[in-house]
Amino acid sequence: MKQFKYLSPTTVEEAISYYGQHSETAKFVAGGTDVIVKLKEGWMEPDYLISLKKIEEMGELHKNDATKELSIGATVTHATLEKSLMIQNEYPIIYDAVSNIGSLQVRNVGTIGGNLINAVPSADGAIPLIALDGVALLQGPDGERSADVKNLFIEPYKTILKPGEILKKITIPPQAPHTGSAYTKFGRRAAMELPLIGIGVLLTLADDLETCTKARICLGVAAPTPMRAFDSEKFLVGKKITEETLIEAGNIAADESQVRDSIRGKAWHRKEMIRVYIKRMGLKCISIIKHNS
């Protein structure tokens, strides 16, 4: 690959300032598992690579005991999230998604933020954060701003980040009681899989533990960018969650999706999997809720 100079700032401001000095000849890098592939293929030829690995605030995973807000630094690795008992117990949808990204070797290095910025349609990392109503905190030459994770993606491989802007962290708002979440992806084999379809479901039930008060149905590889099936969600809210309602929700979501044929699979098959897995993930949410109550 083309030679570059490696810079290692220790604060966000320093990183932004490096970018200011070199502008388009510089690229940010977090874990590197996506960037290095691109550098090798020649899709990226920066003169400067600005590593975000040494910026402490970006590497923190922290749940605020008082506010119950979860803060995930953008350079937190997938493996860190996978191994966190807090994530496993309280945010199972994140655990489900990150524990099957690539391989353990990739997860030990790849970061949640890097995965988001890469904006691949499969979006294993994005789906759970969208389902949890995650908010991305960005900082750039023009200062700080935030954006819902669901609004980060413009098209495959393109986010709303402006040149010089860094994704610092993702915050997850406090989750309501009686909330369960689950994610799965469908592929031909059990590991190292870029999915045919990714399905994330989050359900909150009322105190009767039957009626849905909140639903998030998030799909990956069902559209150019990760999408929420809004009609499907609306359908579920206010209804008693049963296998039948979940099947209907799946039908609605399948219709909402924009699946296509590709070398990884056909559109009709993806739609079928949307139907099947919304039902299965929905039932998994219910069993998590019942187990925790």
Partner: protein, 159 residues
């Protein structure tokens, strides 16, 4: 575009001037002549290049050499003890048929070591999950699992 780095490699303290764009795999194989770590795909999709950095198994083909500064690296060459005795994992892979053509073996053994160092009593599912990123075309994985399980039953390996 070179940088001086220092790191621990298989117990030795190393100082090296690396070019910023070198991957760790390139540093090990092409610059330092340590051919034990293999390149199977260059894309992080096969695990043949797995080494351990600060106790974590990583794909050295996707890891910049410059980033090992201050870190501890273990490669296949460092497993056998200084008196030449094979590490229990190496011995087990040899004795249990875990090695046929051997190209995946260094990476497979390093992934196994990283797993058992962290979780000496890993169960079958955990072993499969940890080795999912190491492709083998020869063995069908059966004797690889047997090799790892045999060491596990010896009660870990940090002797």
């Amino acid at each position: 575009m070179t940088t001086n780095i220092s790191f621990s490699l298989n117990g030795d303290e190393i100082s090296y001037e690396v070019k910023d764009h070198w991957t760790l795999l390139h540093l090990l194989r092409e610059e330092m002549g340590m051919i034990g770590t293999k390149e199977g795909c260059g894309n992080g999709e096969c695990g043949a290049c797995t080494v351990i950095v600060d106790k974590l198994a990583i794909n050295s083909c996707l890891y910049l050499a410059i980033e090992v500064d201050g870190k501890t690296i273990e490669t296949i060459e460092g497993l056998a003890s200084t008196d030449g005795i094979l590490h229990p994992l190496q011995k087990s892979f040899v004795e249990n048929g875990g090695i046929q053509c051997g190209f995946c073996s260094p990476g497979m053994i390093m992934s196994s070591k990283a797993l058992l160092d962290e979780n000496p009593s890993a169960n079958h599912e955990e072993i499969k999950h940890a080795l999912a990123g190491n492709i083998c075309r020869c063995t069908g994985y059966v004797q690889i699992f047997e090799s790892v399980e045999a060491v596990k039953n010896m009660g870990g390996q940090n002797e």
